[in-house]
């Protein structure tokens, strides 16, 4: 056999080549990370010259909005980097507290144990009941909703609908939508008899659209969009008030949750600038675009 070892020895050659590549890559990227304590090169005018990195961690509900706002902020402030990561509201709180993250994203109101953090209310989000669009049920009374979710009524005929089984879609433990929902209807987690348990809003919407006879509860904004997009769900009015973002904005709709940003006591100038941006009127269009209700409204 000729000495064509280089061609027929993927292992040895790759090992050598790979080792060199890895080393070169690592050496090339040993650049100094810009610290998040920024150098403000000029004072005064809002948003003029902050630089630095801001790490934003937490709820995956708020992450898309903050990601988009971060992109806009970076475009207007060269030299800044806004790094958004998900991992849940709990992670947002923990890492804001420990300093690993500059800003935490929390898709609920803060509890009594969390008052050591500074909270900034960014937007509100309504929570609405949705039904599979094929169901001929126009509205539900409060007691009916409670009976459905506790399993006392398990067929639609019991609330004036067709004789079909009710598939109760419920959220997984710990989510703020669940807590707000249970709180409003005076239920404890152990009272609920679900048919299906889901994670986030989109999963709930898609599940309700896929299962005939399904009922669930989701963020109003996401549901409104889905309906407009032709997804097979329908929003149910709550106590006679229609579930729309307009009603949430007008504070007529009762079931809402808060979307917050949290930081610990001291923030760097670039973090401060970014938070100011998120709370400013420049950001409201983006927030509205992703179907939440900015606090400015």
């Amino acid at each position: 056999m000729e000495s064509r070892s280089s061609a027929i020895v993927p292992g040895a050659r790759l090992r050598g080549f790979g080792g060199v590549m890895l080393f070169a890559a690592l050496a090339a990227c040993a650049r100094t990370e810009e610290s998040s304590v920024a150098v403000v090169t000029s004072t005064g005018a809002a948003g003029v010259s902050v630089t630095g990195t801001v790490s934003v961690v937490g709820s995956s509900t708020i992450a898309p909005v903050l990601g988009e706002l971060g992109r806009l902020f970076e475009a207007g402030h060269p030299g800044t980097r806004i790094n958004v990561e998900t991992g849940g509201s709990t992670r947002g709180i923990v890492e804001a507290r420990s300093g690993r993250a500059d800003i935490g994203m929390v898709s609920r109101a803060l509890t009594v144990n969390e008052q050591d953090l500074a909270a900034y209310l960014v937007a509100r989000d309504g929570v609405a009941l949705i039904l599979h669009s094929g169901l001929e049920v126009q509205s539900l009374k409060r007691e009916q909703v409670i009976d459905i979710y506790t399993g006392r009524i398990d067929r639609w005929v019991g609330v004036g609908g067709p004789d079909a089984p009710i598939s109760v879609i419920h959220k997984a433990e710990g989510r703020s939508t669940l807590e707000v929902f249970l709180d409003h209807f005076g239920l404890k987690p152990t009272d609920v008899r679900p048919s299906v348990v889901v994670g986030d809003n989109q999963q709930c919407i898609k599940s309700v659209a896929s299962i005939p006879g399904a009922i669930g509860y989701v963020s109003i904004g996401a549901a409104e969009f889905a309906v407009a997009d032709g997804v097979g769900i329908r929003l149910l009015p709550l106590d006679g008030i229609c579930a729309t973002t307009a009603n949430v904005r007008a504070k007529r709709y009762a079931l809402t949750r808060e979307l917050n940003l949290v930081t610990d006591a001291t923030v760097s100038p670039v973090t401060r600038a970014f938070i100011d941006f998120v709370l400013s009127s420049d950001a409201t269009e983006t927030i509205r675009d992703l179907y939440f209700v900015p606090i400015g409204d």
Binding site: G11, R31, G67, R71
Partner: protein, 288 residues
Amino acid sequence: MTEARIHRSTTSKSDVAVQTASWLALVALLVPLGLIVGDLLMRGATSLSPQFLVDSPSKAGREGGIGPVLLSTLLVMGVCLLVVVPLGLAAAIGLNEYLRRGGFAVRTVRIALDVLAGTPSIALGMFGYAFFCIALGMGVSILAGGLTLACMVMPLYVRLSEQALRTVPDDVRAAADALALRRYTAILRIVLPVAAPGLFAATGLALARALAETAALLFTSGYVSRTPGSLLDPGRVLAVHIFDLSMNVPGGDGPAYATALVLVALLLSVSGVPRLVRGFTRRWSHPV
């Protein structure tokens, strides 16, 4: 080894049964594939365009394209393969050629590999975050993501490579020994070339599995959709982009399915490349 055919000499009723069963199995294999890809085409084809592959995402990904995401994906896969192929192949060689077969060490390592293969990707993602990002100080980055992915994919690659090495009959090794060839020469010049087709298949499957991984990478290579400037920057991979668009962003379905189609195209090209390379090395994979 060339592919062999079983030629028909005698046919019995059970022969027909086996043949029918294998045809049915092939159909059963391809039907879900067809349904899924068909679904993707139906929902995602309209959002596809050449610009889609190059532009950056905007409006949380509902507009624009996936250019930076593609780059991040290629970088993460690159890091992963650079670690998995050499290390995994070395491990497979170690397990099959050097350590005592059936000995305690080999059995333990194999069990460890199988257990690693069963770790939920979320757990691996959290481990990767704690170990690579925090403890080793890489931060959420492409490098950390690639290394975590390497952990995820390693068992698959090692086991399949081992299988490939084992298809080389021991007489070949004995013959090499009889010719007074040193062990490593025998491995490099004889065993590896013969096992090459299986090794390439192992690489292909490992890469496919890596491209599919979401949860482990979400926590380690990140969520940021910006173009990465270096291996220490965060960047989201295609699978994470698809996940975010379909599960977190209202109105993200169209681009999500389009991105999935891009991923399918990538997979098709990945399974094509090993065959091309194999074609080149085919001449050397026959021992005689």
